[in-house]
């Protein structure tokens, strides 16, 4: 497995992340323009959504899908509880901050998913198209769970906001919308649509992912550099929690009888933490929570951990337990 590990470390995807990370640490002027980064992210959503939809059109719905969806929902609502308990036990963050961070860890990171699917693709392992739907389904439940946790704060002066602004942020979030939309379009157009769009969504895919991870690296390092209030307890949480999430994901995959590929992806989803959808929702619903904690943890600690160490580990575990 040490060769496989080396191979991960030497994949362009990880190396470009590392390059960005170094650039951010030494404060190079290297930066990916914001609009471009958003464009790359749109592209990745559109591409994996569409591909997933086309595969789904082939395979049709089956029981495995139901199992994966239920697993995703269970994890989405359950992981925040575990994360919250852990945070209150092992760190000193306040009730509301713990609730906000817990929501991040119950939700998922799409780019981590994309990196994992790229990794297992390279190994020649297959996964089911419905996993893309699971990604979309797992974005929001943790936000609800986090708010319920926050509501139980005895020191809270006011209740979290559940108003229209918030609900739109949660359920009509741009990236979930595009992911699901592209999935549906992929299903509707099937192979015929795929053939016309294929060169666009396959040819540059890996390169776009590299460029995007370059930007993620810069962002992660900048976050860490300017991190204030992040102590070793929180960092430890940011390294332990993905492993706990992964374990839960492995158990669920086993219960749901997922294939090795789909299992590795569900494990990765459980291990990953949101850095786009959840921060945006929390800012609206829980403005009193300190965004610096959660974003720095999820982007600066957990994302790099998952990308470099986690994904190969999760895939290996899936291979051993689910094969």
């Amino acid at each position: 497995m040490s060769e496989a590990a080396l191979q991960t470390l030497l994949s362009p995807v990880v190396l470009f992340f590392a390059l960005g990370f170094v650039a951010g640490l030494v404060r190079s002027s290297l930066s990916v323009p914001e609009d471009l980064a958003k464009g790359l992210s749109l592209y990745l959503m559109l591409a994996i959504g569409f591909k997933g939809g086309v595969e789904l059109a082939h395979a049709g719905f089956d029981l495995g899908m139901l199992g994966a969806v239920i697993s995703g929902l269970v994890a989405g609502f359950g992981l925040p509880l575990i994360a919250f308990g852990l945070l209150r036990a092992m760190t000193r963050v306040s009730h509301v901050d713990a609730a906000a961070i817990a929501a991040h860890y119950g939700s998922i990171s799409v780019v981590t998913f994309v990196a994992a699917s790229d990794y297992i693709d390279a190994l020649g392992v297959e996964y089911e198209g419905y996993m893309v739907a699971v990604v979309a389904i797992m974005e929001s439940p943790a936000i609800i769970a986090g708010l319920i946790l926050a509501q139980r704060d005895p020191a809270a002066k006011r209740a979290p906001r559940w108003d229209a602004d918030f609900l739109r942020e949660v359920f009509l979030n741009g990236s979930v919308f595009l992911l699901l939309g592209a999935l549906v379009i992929g299903m509707a157009t099937g192979d015929k649509g795929y053939d016309t769009v294929a060169p666009f969504i396959t040819t540059p895919f890996k390169g776009v992912l590299c460029l995007f991870l370059l930007d993620m690296g810069i962002a992660a390092a900048s976050r860490l550099r300017s991190a204030s209030g992040l102590d070793h307890r929180l960092v430890t949480f940011g390294l332990i929690m993905p492993v706990i999430g992964a374990t839960v994901g492995l158990g669920l995959s086993w219960l749901a009888g997922l294939s090795v590929g789909s299992g590795a992806l569900l494990i990765t989803l459980c291990a990953s933490a949101s850095y786009i959808a959840v921060p945006a929702a929390m800012r609206v619903a829980l403005p009193q929570a300190n965004p610096a904690y959660s974003l720095t943890l999820s982007l600066g600690v957990t994302f790099p951990f998952n990308l470099v160490i986690g994904i190969p580990l999760y895939q290996r575990a899936a291979e051993i337990i689910l094969a």
Binding site: D165, I218, A219, S222, I276, A280, R283, P287
Partner: protein, 104 residues
Amino acid sequence: MTIETHARKRLEMIIEQPHLPQFIRLFEQQDVRGYTVLDSKSGKGSRGFWSPARLSSVDDRVMIVAVADEETIQRVLSELQALFEQLPGVAFVSDVQVIRPDRF
């Protein structure tokens, strides 16, 4: 020839982008008839230095400028006092002159 001008108040706020709708709603409630939102690049305040969060707009701040008569601005300020207890941001008020008094 001197142009006749009329005294109004200029309210300037710097707030977080995700909370903009709440402030706009406050303006609507208090009959502020016009305002302009400007982008900001970075800054420092009681919560330390910020610059736009890469990959998401949660850390973006905007500046809002609104010119109105003194009474309206007073009403807005008294509401702002409460709002600023929940949401981050700053507000400054200054004197301005306008040439079309019926508009402000």
